[in-house]
Subunit: 269 residues, 2 copies
């Protein structure tokens, strides 16, 4: 096993929602070490300007590179939408976002070529999902909307009550008029609200969650570059954050689906 | 008119909600120049740890001191609750928060000595309002609750719809059992939701908004220290922020109640 293969995979997100991507990575690639960085001191990214999201993303990437990672996953839809093209060009190691895998899965799922996309204000305003979908399949028509209340609802744990339902209804009722058969959940927090979103859009609409698709893409890229760890033992997970707010461990473990031994705080200069 | 009097008043907040405090300052002290800093790149503070709120507050304060201000207003309830006592000790210029003026107004308003306090998670967990109320009047009993959905509701402009009403009801129904006759709106955004909050708690409950009380306290402190500007012309307002997100000018003008000529972005090293 050469040294390159032994290196960890780096993952960053604006917070700890990106641990859902780590969960899928572990399922698919159990032998890989993972270094995660959650920018909890400066979250959310989804309400901020492209320039600021770009600046934060560069700092996060530089932190992960110092950890000697072999590949970086941008597990944040906003950073993937706003910053990824520039980051890919600047970097000499592979950088994968959650956006393209999600767009590919949606393009494969839609039968009537009508796709809805929901995400943060920054993600939707970037038009990145729409552009990616059009590039994959020019015949696809899109309808998109920012749903700013979904993140705080998910964090409050109001996943399936009357308020969550009315909020989803308020945002998503126009989707029926558009006639989409596929809806991209373009934010790591939104899958927690799958229940109420599904009730509003109905059984006929496929809900696309990017985490799983991203793990498949990471696996493919590691194999293609002969970077896959061939050690037989289970990989380790190191979790770094820029702030340790109340209940972070509990919420993080809910996203990751397993215990987190240690959460380390780091501070950028 | 001496040089000290001519200096501006510095005001900072995690975002632009603190412009409601600036609005009250202008009403009461129309001749004062004001330098405002909104930390829009790192907002919100209310979900973050005391250590991080302290670190951000020190940086904001240092930025305002570089602008040669004569007094600093911490127009953020979270920073006032978590960081103010330490900041006051460290600084050689007067620092005033929104917390004490709000607590004094609540203590003066309550007849049955039962006061409710709502705010961000960080504000409520700090117990700062409770301690301040007890110090003013030991007989006061408090009931307090974080209401994390109120800030995103106010920013979404959902101020008086069914979702806002149900959210307020879900948070505030227990207040009736406690029997408070006074409720402190311990976050700059909450006064925007006064309508639905009032419908839930009923006419018998006084809602305390700190912005006005803080302006009175600033006036008193300026007079006490002979720092009040005695120029006859209207003061200027300079607005600095750490990020310029979508619609910031429109939202800022709604909070300030008048046009903002220019919003300047600054970046901390």
């Amino acid at each position: 096993m050469n040294d390159e293969k032994k290196k960890p995979i780096g993952v960053f997100d604006s917070g700890i929602g990106g641990l859902t991507v780590v969960r899928e990575l572990i399922r698919r690639l159990p032998g890989e070490d993972i270094v995660y960085f959650g920018d909890t001191a400066r979250l959310p990214y989804g309400t901020k300007s492209p320039e600021t999201v770009m600046r934060f993303s560069r700092q996060n990437l530089s932190f992960l590179k110092d950890k000697n990672v072999k590949l970086i996953v941008v597990a944040c839809n906003t950073a993937s939408s706003v910053a990824l093209p520039a980051l890919e060009e600047e970097e000499d190691i592979p950088v994968i976002g959650v956006l393209l895998p999600g767009a590919r899965a949606a393009a494969a799922a839609t039968k009537n070529k009508r796709v809805g996309v929901i995400g943060t204000t920054a993600t939707i305003r970037s038009n990145a999902y729409e552009q990616a979908l059009k590039e994959i399949e020019p015949a696809i028509e899109t309808w998109s909307l920012p749903c700013p209340l979904f993140v705080p609802l998910a964090e409050e744990g109001w996943l399936d009550n009357e308020i969550a339902y009315l909020t989803a209804k308020s945002y998503l009722e126009p989707l029926a008029g558009f006639g989409a058969d596929t809806l991209v959940l373009g934010c790591t927090h939104y899958p927690l609200l799958k229940g109420v979103i599904g009730r509003v859009v109905g059984d006929g609409t496929v809900l696309v969650d990017s985490a799983q698709e991203t793990a498949i893409e990471v696996e493919g890229m590691l194999d293609q570059r002969s970077l896959r760890s061939d050690g037989g033992t289970a990989g380790t997970i190191q979790v770094y954050v820029s702030d340790v707010p109340y209940l972070i461990k509990e919420v993080g473990e809910r996203f990751l689906g397993r215990p987190i031994e240690k959460i380390e705080r780091v501070e950028f200069k």
